[in-house]
């Protein structure tokens, strides 16, 4: 099933290629993390999806149809650099932005009232934006982004500039929107939030897509067959004697009455077999495969490309 697809997107500026044959495929209902270091081409790709700029070549499909100008009304975009008219009143401005997305004035007011109530900011309606704090303005901007109930939402670094409480609020709202069926593109450097909320990711570096897919599969793929065995410290226990030929010890460490052993599995060996070898010797606390964090994968892949 293809919800949103970009094929072989090329975008060249005078001096450099911002995107060189990048393809992405976003399944419906995904929270799709668009990752990459600064200058990788994320913003160029997002602007092309928003039809702010056109690609030099490549095709874009939205629900299997070529992306067309009126599709801007089905997409919501929160750019990294946020901004509103400072001298304009909050309510009036939100209505204006909603109308530009094809919502009638009447409908916009009804929906805005609902959102303002939800965020408990009704009192801001007649305030000028310049009277609001940065965080307050960001909330308003978030509302204007989602107000026209787009099928596809694009957030570029949505959490920057929010305090932790508002980050939580925003995460909740994003997950809520997903539950309602909205597909979300989520561009960020913040790997913690990627692991927490993304279902799929694509990593872009130096104008190329390096990897794409469901986040679990990617982490699984980059897992390096290392395991962590944690047990009660027992001086009599010498792991190298019992683990068997399939494993090799990378490191071990004793901390108080705990012993951590990192194992490299060279040939396949079921977990139960290993555990049955260790069990007679000491108390096992845990045994798990070490899955690399997105941060590790990100750094590894970006470094590999250099």
């Amino acid at each position: 099933m293809s919800f949103f697809k970009a094929l072989n997107i090329v975008k060249t500026y005078a001096n450099h290629k911002a995107l060189d044959g990048v393809s992405i495929n976003i399944p419906e209902g995904a929270i799709y993390g668009l990752l990459g270091p600064n200058g990788a081409g994320k913003t160029s790709l997002i602007r092309i999806i928003n039809q702010i700029t056109a690609p030099d070549s490549g095709e874009i499909f939205f629900r299997n149809e070529h992306l067309k100008p009126s599709d801007v009304n089905r997409i919501g975009y929160l750019p990294e650099e946020r901004g509103l008219y400072k001298k304009m009143k909050v309510g009036e401005q939100a209505v204006y932005l909603a109308r530009l997305k094809g919502i009638s004035k009447h409908e916009a007011i009804i929906r805005l009232k609902m959102w303002f109530e939800k965020f408990e900011i009704e009192a801001w309606w007649d305030k000028k934006v310049e009277e609001l704090s940065k965080g307050m303005a960001q909330k308003v901007q978030f509302i204007t982004t989602v107000l026209h109930e787009p099928e596809l939402l694009i957030f570029d670094e949505p959490f920057s500039g929010f305090d932790p409480i508002n980050v939580e609020l925003l995460k909740r709202e994003i997950l809520e929107l997903r539950k309602k069926g909205t597909t979300i593109i989520f561009s960020t450097h913040n790997m913690g939030s990627v692991e927490e909320i993304c279902s799929h990711i694509a990593l872009i570096n130096k104008s190329h897509k390096i990897i794409e897919g469901p986040i679990n599969q990617i982490r699984e793929k980059y897992a390096s067959n290392t395991y962590q065995l944690c047990c009660r410290y027992n001086p009599e226990f010498s792991p190298e004697k019992v683990i068997g030929s399939e494993f090799e010890i990378i490191s071990q460490r004793v901390e108080g009455d705990r012993q951590d052993i990192i194992l490299q599995q060279n040939t396949y060996c079921p977990a139960n077999t290993l555990l049955s070898r260790v069990l007679p010797q000491t108390d096992i606390i845990s045994y798990q495969k070490i899955i690399p964090s997105m941060n590790d994968i990100f750094i590894k892949l970006v470094k590999e490309q250099v």
């Binding site: 700029t53 901004g83 997305k101 982004t145």
Partner: protein, 459 residues
């Protein structure tokens, strides 16, 4: 089917442009500065106009007596004129006592005709208030006539030529220049190029200020949207070119509304002041009146003043006004569109207003030059510099309007208008390209070379 889809898309676009126009218009019109400028400018004009009318037509009812100390041989050089009478004083008053003397006798001024007046025609007039131009001229003229007649009598007596007086009088030749305008249809009519060219220059000035005021408002708006970063949200909803178009039209609407308010207010003020200052004046009758002295009797206005008014009324015939207003609106809108799109491109190219100077300067110079040529056109409307600059689109809005009252062949106006339209289409397209790239480009010091590169980017 495809047609209806096109139609649907088109109506979405139009609808969005209308929403943008609406915002650009209402936010500006609601500003206090708009209200202040819109109300105060006509009031200022009205005060100025009222002052002029008052100067021109004031009922000089103040009775003045001027004391004259005559040390010369001239006999009663001054005669009573209008409200000013002259009293000859025999005693000598020292200059230090003038103020006391004037106040004690309630004299308006005191003058001393020195003994050597015949060889050195200069007299002082001392007064506690500013002596009006009119009175000063009157004193000079009376004294001149007196001295001339004495000198003339001396010459006649010396030369002994019979009829010399009559012969000298015959030498005097007043020349009357009647300016007549020959129109395409072969009619001739009285015209006064001084008055019409002043109207032309005023119109050119208004266009000059409007272009500067409103085109730079467009630029400020663009810079504002760029610096507070709202532009990226806006262009994700509407194409940059459409947004720019909506903005330019919205600001133009503000200008036109302001201008209309001024016309209405100005017209009202002129009507009111006419009713106040010239209650009995029938302008239609005046237009055809031949004997101004007769006409003046009913109106308490003296014939010379009436002549000025008659000239004005005669010159400004309705057809001319219609044509002129049409041309004004055309050049106003065309000139504004041309400059506004260029100013918008400048606004998009820079990060703040200070940086805009390097690109603004060439345009400002062109506009100022246009204004200077406009002033020059008043003196020599036929010069080739004036001719060419009334065709070139960057200067034509100002210069052509100054030329029009002098009569411009139709083909020249059509060429000038055509050039203006095609160049504003071309430059709007060009500016649109720069705008599109520039609004999303931050923190870059932009050069002319860079701008040229932007023109070649794909939309």
């Amino acid at each position: 089917m495809s047609f209806s889809i096109f139609n649907f898309q088109f109506s979405i676009k139009m609808n969005k442009i209308l929403i943008i126009i609406n915002r650009e218009f209402t936010t500006r019109v609601r500003k206090k500065t708009f209200l202040v400028v819109t109300i105060f400018v006509p009031i200022l004009f009205a005060l100025f106009y009222a002052f002029l009318m008052w100067m021109l037509l004031r009922d000089d009812s103040q009775e003045r007596t001027i004391a004259v100390i005559n040390e010369s041989a001239l006999e009663t050089p001054f005669q009573k004129i209008n409200n000013t009478s002259f009293t000859y004083i025999d005693q000598d008053i020292p200059e230090a006592n003038y103020i006391d003397f004037l106040e004690k006798n309630d004299y308006y001024a005191i003058t001393r005709i020195p003994a050597n007046i015949m060889s050195h025609a200069e007299i002082p007039v001392f007064s506690t208030s500013q002596v009006p131009m009119e009175l000063k001229n009157e004193i000079a003229s009376q004294l001149r006539q007196k001295i001339e007649s004495v000198k003339r009598a001396e010459v006649i007596a010396k030369t002994q030529i019979p009829d010399l007086e009559a012969q000298l009088d015959a030498v005097k030749t007043p020349v009357l220049v009647r300016t007549l305008l020959v129109t395409d249809s072969g009619d001739t009519k009285e015209s006064s190029s001084e008055i019409t060219s002043i109207i032309g220059l005023v119109a050119g000035l208004i266009i000059y200020f409007f272009i500067f005021m409103y085109a730079s408002q467009v630029m400020k708006g663009v810079i504002e949207e760029k610096t507070n970063r709202i532009i990226e949200v806006l262009v994700s909803s509407v194409k940059p070119f459409q947004f720019l178009l909506g903005k330019i039209i919205g600001v133009a609407a503000v200008g036109l509304v302001q201008f209309l308010i001024w016309i209405v207010l100005g017209g009202g003020i002129i009507l009111i002041s006419q009713a106040l200052f010239m209650p009995n004046l029938d302008l239609e009758a005046l237009k055809d009146a031949n004997d101004l002295n007769m006409f003046a009797q009913g109106t308490e206005i003296n014939p010379e003043q009436l002549a000025i008014i008659q000239n004005l009324v005669k010159t400004i015939d309705p057809m001319f006004i219609l044509k002129f207003v049409g041309a004004f609106l055309f050049y106003f809108i065309g000139g504004y569109l041309l400059y506004a799109s260029l100013f918008a491109a400048i606004g998009a190219a820079v990060d703040n207003e200070t940086d805009s100077q390097q690109f603004m300067t060439p345009l400002s110079i062109i506009l100022v030059v246009a204004l200077y040529i406009g002033v020059a056109a008043m003196k020599s409307p036929e010069s080739s510099m004036v001719f060419w600059s009334s065709l070139i689109p960057f200067t034509s809005p100002v210069v052509m309007l100054v030329r029009i009252p002098f009569g411009v062949p139709a083909w020249e106006i059509i060429t000038s208008m055509g050039l203006l339209v095609s160049s504003f289409l071309f430059f709007t397209w060009l500016s649109g390209k720069i705008y599109r790239v520039g609004i999303l480009m931050y923190g870059k010091k932009v050069t002319w070379k860079e701008l040229y590169k932007w023109l070649r980017y794909k939309a």
